[in-house]
Symmetry: C2
Subunit: 354 residues, 2 copies
């Protein structure tokens, strides 16, 4: 983790606030959830923004709808998008709402439920390769042919502002509950959600962390290298976190504002998935569960311990109250087969394997 | 189904209102959830009260906490309860909050997660037989020996009022959203939740339905016989709906106020469980999913069709707006193994079986 200076209030918070105001009533105000059992495990208060319950099954609906609506208002008759899945679903649903044509480009190994949801919303679905470069090339060609603009999944200010509105809502819900956030944790694919979270948190003493699966750590490497650095993404159950490179605009925001990157492996993500399902009683997709996996890792590393425990006051300035970590549960679009496999307790799985 | 006259405002609504006011801030105000996919399947708007997210994992926390707190205020040093599981968990947690001793009597085949949750809250857990009569006999003996009062799971006005507060919250949440309920559907074990729902709906044009698993239909038989009538409960995945007889107090309320009883089988409950998990993204226990199974059956029978479809205006007086059905998702305490089994799509299970 690299320490960065927390910036003062940033003009771009205005954009998140504007997106949040526009989206109010157009997407769901998802609940902030909480589980005493998860608090005990983490050793801090954990407040979870249930964007898995959002329209379209993920927080991508926010950025997708905000961006597509502006394009519709500007007179465009269609849109093109590439995505590992949830942004495609969001753009498809947003285009349907505005009666626009939508073409979405997904990897050949996209989660079938995401492909089905995009098709159900009336989008033309094109399946191409497994890398973001392959998808982007096809998306650009379709955009050239049709004249429809690309709604980038991360490198787009409206998308980042829309995604940030989920974090802003959580920040405000936590404040209204009298338990303001000390930390805010988001999974990182292309970095749009984490960048939006940084903008949403600007001017408040909240440390924002990004979580990447081991081997899909483009953001971690990019921060170390000082520029966007692609990786050959390793296999992971978190299919939404596989983009091979963080976006340029997210990177420009994250490089000065992010408190740190947490790397988690599939076992940690699976454990977080089970906790969310069995204790919080909600279904997150593995990418959505990665945020909680990151909080569990932060707690293990001592970063969420409060000062009276004798630890360093990593969060806040030695305040003695209980630490509060916020997590955006970014999505819940997952295959039934994977749910069945992940829900099975580890002991049971070992018995089956033995 | 037997048609009953809707009563006017009832004095007992006052008790539900009082319980709701007292519980405000002491239990969670759970969210009202909604899924376009479920609406499409049902052909009506379905608003689901997510009491599976409630403290203790079920709406039983409401009645348990309300009743136990009054006993604590009256100077009792301990409480005794019998239950298929969730009421025991609720009483254990409530007793823990008031520093009272708690003994809870559960069937030997209770869901292990419910036994574990009651123990984790510090209760003494006694496992006895499989029928409510066996549990009640042991609970009465323990009550006699200790002098601690029994907090009955259904036959207790505070428990009914507390459970009813979940329905009242849903009724008010639906009204605030501009989509007032036409129907309200609750699963029936001992009948306390459904009785509380009837009290909560008093004075409003809301038809309340109870749902029972096939073979556990004590309420249905009791309504036909005109008096509480026990059944030898058949096996069902809805472990919370197995009480062999509806309570006397719930029956006295339900016999004049309930619109009808819907019987559903395990396949219908499993289908509702999957819909809740994969479309609404929440984990309900099978007993909690039974309410949605009942709504799906109501829809199949045409009871939720709107008048412009050419059907009889069963709900409301021929109003042309879309019908709205409310469902209380009563609980979410379920074994991981059962989740894995139920999450697997039916096609997949058939392939495995073939």
């Amino acid at each position: 983790m690299s320490r960065t200076d927390l910036p003062g209030p940033d003009p771009a918070l205005v954009d998140v606030t504007e997106a949040a105001r526009w989206l109010d009533g157009r997407v769901l105000r998802t609940p902030m959830l909480h589980s005493p059992a998860i608090d005990r495990l983490v050793g801090a208060r954990v407040l979870l923004k249930a964007e898995n319950l959002q329209l379209g099954g993920s927080y991508k609906m926010r950025g997708g709808l905000f961006a597509v609506s502006r394009l519709a208002a500007a007179g465009h008759a269609g849109v093109v998008a590439q995505s590992t899945g949830n942004h495609a679903v969001a753009v498809a649903l947003a285009a349907q709402r505005h009666d626009l044509a939508a073409t979405v480009v997904l990897p050949v190994d996209a989660a079938p439920t995401k492909i089905a949801r995009a098709r159900a919303a009336g989008a033309r679905v094109v399946l191409v390769g497994t890398s973001v470069d392959e998808r982007l090339a096809v998306a650009r060609r379709i955009s050239d042919e049709t004249g429809y603009p690309i709604v980038d999944a991360y490198d787009h200010p409206d998308v980042i502002a829309g995604q940030g509105s989920a974090s802003l809502e959580l920040i405000e819900q936590a404040e209204r509950a009298g338990t303001p956030l000390d930390a805010l944790v988001l999974p990182v694919g292309g970095g749009g959600g984490a960048a939006g979270a940084c903008l949403a948190a600007a001017g408040r003493p909240i440390e924002v962390y990004g979580v990447e699966p081991v081997g899909c750590d483009s953001l971690g490497r990019s921060l170390a290298a000082g520029r966007p650095t692609p990786v050959t993404s390793a296999p992971t159950i978190a299919d939404g976190l596989r983009p091979s490179c963080v976006g340029e605009l997210p990177f420009a925001i994250l490089r000065t504002r992010l408190r740190g990157v947490i790397r988690v492996d599939d076992d940690e993500i699976a454990e977080a998935f089970r906790l969310l399902l069995m204790e919080l009683k909600v279904l997150a997709e593995p990418s959505g569960a990665a945020g909680l996996a990151g909080v569990l890792r932060l707690a293990e590393d001592g970063a969420l311990r409060s000062a009276e425990d004798g630890s360093l006051p990593v969060l806040g300035a030695g305040a003695r109250r209980q630490r509060t970590a916020g997590v955006v549960l970014t999505g819940g679009n997952v295959e039934a087969e994977l749910v069945a496999r992940l829900a099975t307790p580890v002991r049971g799985r070992e018995e089956v394997a033995a």
